[in-house]
Symmetry: none
Subunit: 212 residues, 4 copies
């Protein structure tokens, strides 16, 4: 019994450390950017000594990939959950999907900043790219499908591809804006912006947005 607990404890402890280091990596990355993130910083942010990161992740590269995976998985799990809880109505599903992107768990400044740091670096690193991209493709495909369903049902004279693309782009743009503290607005503002677009595209399915 004690042995089992020990084993679990140890194993858990190792997982906990990895988690801790990944969180530290997100912190540092958000603060110092990709090029400014050093192993030493990460270890310090985790309150540990410098050698430990290599012990748990072998390589800086691997630590970063794990961190990226972590962010990507969290992001995907978030919208999966939102979609699954949205019933069977395409308009509800689309709304749930789009708004889920602005869940504070996902959309904290620090995670946004870390994500962006990776994202830019990924453009010249195939290893990262696959983790950044795989999400988006799946997400975009669903957005397109839902747009098609709504347009068909509502008999809107719209080109589904353009509308889906616009919504995709809108989300990405809002994320960027949220991250840039230059023109700060709240998650609620972002959602209102989405709502305004949805109403403009599909007036029969979504109410007007804003204090009008």
């Amino acid at each position: 019994m004690a042995a089992i607990e020990q084993t679990i404890g140890r194993k858990a402890s190792k997982e906990v450390r990895r988690q801790q280091l990944i969180e530290a990596t997100i912190d540092v990355m958000a603060r110092k950017g990709y090029s400014g993130t050093t192993m030493f910083d990460v270890a310090k942010a985790a309150g540990l000594s410098s050698g430990i990161v290599n012990f748990h992740f072998e390589t800086k590269e691997k630590l970063l990939v794990e961190t990226l995976k972590y962010l990507a998985d969290e992001y995907r799990a978030n919208w999966h959950k939102a979609l699954n809880g949205a019933g069977s109505n395409p308009a509800d599903q689309l709304g749930a999907l789009l708004f889920s992107d602005f869940n504070p768990d996902i959309c904290s400044p620090r995670k946004l900043a870390a994500w962006c740091a990776f994202w830019a670096e990924a453009q010249s690193r195939p290893t990262y790219l696959e983790h950044c991209g795989s999400n988006d493709e799946e997400y975009s495909a669903i957005v397109l499908e839902l747009c098609r369903a709504i347009i068909r049902k509502g008999r809107y004279p719209l080109v589904p591809d353009l509308i889906a693309r616009a919504l995709d782009a809108l989300l990405e743009g809002l994320w960027l804006d949220l991250m840039t503290m230059a023109k700060p607005y709240s998650l609620e503002d972002a959602k209102q912006t989405i709502a305004a677009c949805l109403h403009a595209f599909f007036p029969k399915h979504y109410p007007p947005a804003g204090k009008s």
Copy 2:
């Protein structure tokens, strides 16, 4: 006389060198990302020897800032020109402004990539941020102003801030998509997407987009 020519020759040559190095920086940055860009790479890409960059820019930091300024100035000049050539009609002006972002001179993959590399890094570097941001603020202010004018004239039941923000975000998102070769589409596709949104927002001022 000879002395003056010398001076002019040198000055010209100096400017030429700087330009050459800035272009090389954009190339390398697009290819290798921010963290992968070294002084040696830049010098090699410019066909020059490694010591020369410090001679002309003193510091890597300064070279990068100059490059960023160069991109920002070019970007701003582009939309300024488009705006100035668009007459006095707000709807025309807004269209001209938004479409100017997809001018191939500004929007080449290589410049987009370099811009993004800077942009992400800028989030943790005040020095860069001011060059990235100053543009956007001015640009956004004008978009908002034009949206207000159109909404007022057209008596649209819309919240100008939301619409302006949506258009801003849309542009940024499309830029990102254009850069990411994952889901490739043409500049023309991007413009169509803008057009679709403009029509959705201001149906009396913009025609429907796409092959409908």
Copy 3:
């Protein structure tokens, strides 16, 4: 009673562990060379956890010295035994001594490799040197003594020092050759080579060698 058994048990176990770790050290050293031998490798080769080596040997240095001592003792015990079993005839004694170097127990590829790894490193490490060297001096002195006796008895017109030195060098050279798998030959071949030299030096005391 139980206490004593415990103590004995522990002591035995302790000795067993040390032996086990020394053998593991020889293995790793033979496989990876001196510079490639890490505490972790040794522990793994012994099927134990990494902390244990320091527990039993305190220091890497001490582990290596113990390992070297072990090899040196084994080597010395081997030729002592051969010499003691060779009767009182100098020629028999010399033959027994020289051939004992090629006893498979002493001369396995893995022990040769480990020995060489130490030997080279010892040239710049006084601590090791004394263990490598002390043997040789004693061994060489006996070889010289036996050569003197044989030369005197056989009235050979030879300089004992030169002959003894030649035999010493011959043995070392053959060891090296045996270790280098480049030009592989058997222990038997090595012995034949010794025999050929003995016959050349002391034809009245040793028969011709080889299939002539």
Copy 4:
């Protein structure tokens, strides 16, 4: 003219630096052994700063390989020269070949020590092994050939392979002895030892050695 000199001067300078660093590597290796040789030590021994080694050799590994090549080339060139200058008589050639190994240029304590450090390490490193081994094979083949010729001409009742192997081993053993300062003797002593063996093997072709 000046330009050409400059160019040559520069190129030469680069070669000179490499040479200088290789010599420094030999020094350090002789003093500290393989595992104790650091880039910093090498740079310091050359009177240069630490970054310079990577500039000229890219990698520690490459520096060491170049150093090994340098030693191997020098060794080979030495015996080639001796062989070529020895006339056409096999006995003269064999003598010249064997004695050339004890040329002070080749056989300085520092070069011997460096060579041995490499040699031991090479046993677990294929990259080094090829440089250590290629020489020996060629050398051994020639020794064997010459022994065959002498044995045939002199009608000695000897097995050529055993004699050649003995001479090979003898040389290696003497090298080791020369390096180990434990039992120091001069190059002249080493040559005497060779001479004693040659006389023992081929009494009609070589005179007795030593002060008899």
